[in-house]
Amino acid sequence: MEDLLEQLIYGLTLGSMYAMVAAGLALMFGVVRLINFAHGEFFMLGAYAFWFAFRVLRLPYPVAGLAAALALGAFGIIYEQTVIRSILHRSWHVQLIATLATSIVLTNLAIIVFGTQAKEVPTALASRVLELGTLRIAWHRLLVLAVTPIIFFALHWFVRHTKPGKAMRAMSQNREACAVVGVDVERVALWTFALGAILAGAAAALVTPLYNIFPDMGALLTLKAFAAVIVGGFGYVQGAILASFLIGITESLAAGYISYVYKDAFAFVIMIAVLLWRPYGLFGRRIGI
């Protein structure tokens, strides 16, 4: 029983990371109708930003985390202005190539700037362990589980109660109607990319103390988050979040009880199964945030 509980906790931690990345990806698709294949690299950049703030500048953990999230928000704005704005009205082929190319460029830039040696950013909580009988959990893992719902609550509050959030919701429902009634759709796109990037930066700052940082850490993460977005119903943020936890828990149970090496395959097996069973994702045709 404790064994199962342990695997569930790992699954929830993993799910938290997938969920924050997938939420940004779903948000971008929901509002701007564009799949950002460089989103995993946003997470990677967030991790390096956090490493710089925490290890190089030696800022306290919460400040370093906040700085990483904000730095990524600024990067999201630059990315939207330079890459996205020029491809927004082009075909999906162009968008696919442009975002994929960005992901390759960012990975290689990280190799040049930060080197290939992995970096570690353990916090004090990452090496302190909570012992409950035979159950041993690092305190930082519990921090991830506690902070993730707070981040999602803040996201929910932002899109429900703020003016930019309401505009994002409106645009996710009908972009043309928004433009007709005077909503500045380009500004909303900018907000969306900034918010998606902040989520990736926050996820990186939250989970990398448990793992390590290396230049191509974003590649598989993009695919997993993409699978979660598909399973959750393309562009439906809450769906993507729930699907991420489903994938994280399935992956953890599969790794613990079936095969560790094939655990990554389970995310994609779930995706294919859901697409066969419900072609529009678990939550149906509900594009929107």
Partner: protein, 382 residues
């Protein structure tokens, strides 16, 4: 004008008179998840080539180094060899660091007839496929996992009764796991479980929970430093007690640099390998001065392979045949007999395998200790 011409002529006369340069290619993973190895190879090779050229090159022939990225994969290794041969026109290749890339490069080096000297690929298949009855262009300085497994398993068998293997999911990891599986049976060690992982994993906890359930006396890690740092942190988090043995680059300064905030996570790991910084402290010192970063195992191996196998082979080719082209370098490698190197003797057998020393390293309190230097020979495989 006259002054300029005479000045130029004086400068030309003063310049060292280099004979035709020797072009050496270095192939390793310069990008992708294993890019750290290629970066090290580039640094190590640059240093070694500069040092040789500073001493006048190889019998007056300047050495030119060329690099190619194999991404650590078989397919890209073919492109790397083609680039080094077709574009850079190299006379000999040092590489490919990763077993999969080595195996992938074997057919193309044979087709293009370029000698390749391997510095770190430890898949046992490479020995079977090289030399007599196989690929005459492939040579290997490092010992492989079948050779090491037979020695290390005997050592492990004297300490524990049961072992779980955790290995990376590639030709290196799978080759080593198969070799240890066979060797453990020979020395009465029970193999409780074998788990593979893809490199760059974030969370090993589910795998560690499986090990906890299996409850072996020891765990054999077949992995590189960057994965080991995450794995061992989580190993300690879970409070696992089995002893730790390793193959790869766990008991290394690279690993200790990654865990410098808590070097105790590596305590007790005993690694079987063929190179450690302690074998050549002067090299480590020069590396630190030059690159301001801890010495890298794969970069050092590429540099030593160049220095103690390729350079003497080129010298032999020049002395014996009066030229150093691909064919004469290959022939010289077959005749090579270098007795004293930091790695041990380098003399290639019929399968183009050198029998250098195996070393056991212990990690404790952030320090590496050379436990034992064990000479190897074909008799180990009997």
């Amino acid at each position: 004008m006259k002054t300029i011409v005479s000045l130029l002529m004086t400068l030309l006369a003063a310049a060292p008179a280099w004979a035709q340069p020797i072009r050496v290619g270095f192939a390793s993973a310069m990008s992708g998840p294993s890019a750290i190895t290629g970066e090290g190879v580039m640094w190590g090779a640059t240093m070694a080539v500069e040092e040789i050229n500073a001493k006048g090159g190889i019998m007056g022939h300047k050495v030119l180094a060329f690099f190619a990225d194999n991404k650590g994969t078989p397919g890209e290794a073919v492109s790397a060899v083609r680039k080094l041969v077709d574009v850079d026109k190299v006379d000999v290749i040092v590489g490919q660091t990763h077993s999969g890339a080595c195996l992938g490069a074997l057919p193309i080096i044979k087709e293009l007839q370029v000698p390749q000297v391997t510095e770190a690929c430890s898949n046992p298949k490479i020995r079977e496929l090289s030399g007599v009855g196989g690929n005459e262009w492939q040579f290997r300085v490092n010992i492989d996992d079948a050779i090491m497994a037979n020695t290390f398993s005997k050592y492990i068998g004297q300490q524990v009764k049961s072992v779980s293997i955790v290995a990376q999911n590639d030709d290196f990891g799978r080759g080593a796991a198969a070799a240890y599986d066979a060797a453990f049976k020979k020395f009465g060690v029970t193999l409780v479980s074998t788990e593979f992982f893809d490199r760059g994993q974030a969370d090993y906890r589910p795998l560690l929970t499986k090990i906890k359930r299996a409850n072996p006396d020891a765990v054999l890690l077949v992995m590189l430093a960057s994965d080991a740092s995450v794995f061992l942190r989580q190993y300690r988090e879970l409070g696992l007690k089995p002893r730790l043995f390793a193959r790869g680059s766990v008991a290394t300064v690279e690993f200790l640099d990654l865990v410098k905030d808590n070097p105790g996570v590596g305590d007790g790991v005993i690694e079987a390998t063929f190179w450690t910084a302690a074998l050549d402290p002067d090299w480590e010192k020069r590396w630190l001065e030059r690159w301001k970063t801890p010495v890298r195992i794969h970069g050092s191996l590429a540099a030593l392979t160049f220095k103690y196998a390729v350079v003497p082979a080129v010298e032999l080719a020049l002395k014996k045949y009066g030229k150093a082209d691909r064919k004469t370098i290959r022939d010289a490698l077959e005749q090579l007999d270098v007795k004293d190197t930091p790695l041990g003797p380098i003399k290639f057998d019929d399968h183009h395998q050198a029998w250098i020393n195996m070393v056991l390293i212990e990690m404790k309190g952030g320090q590496l200790r050379l436990l034992e230097k064990i000479p190897t020979s074909p008799a180990i495989l009997q």
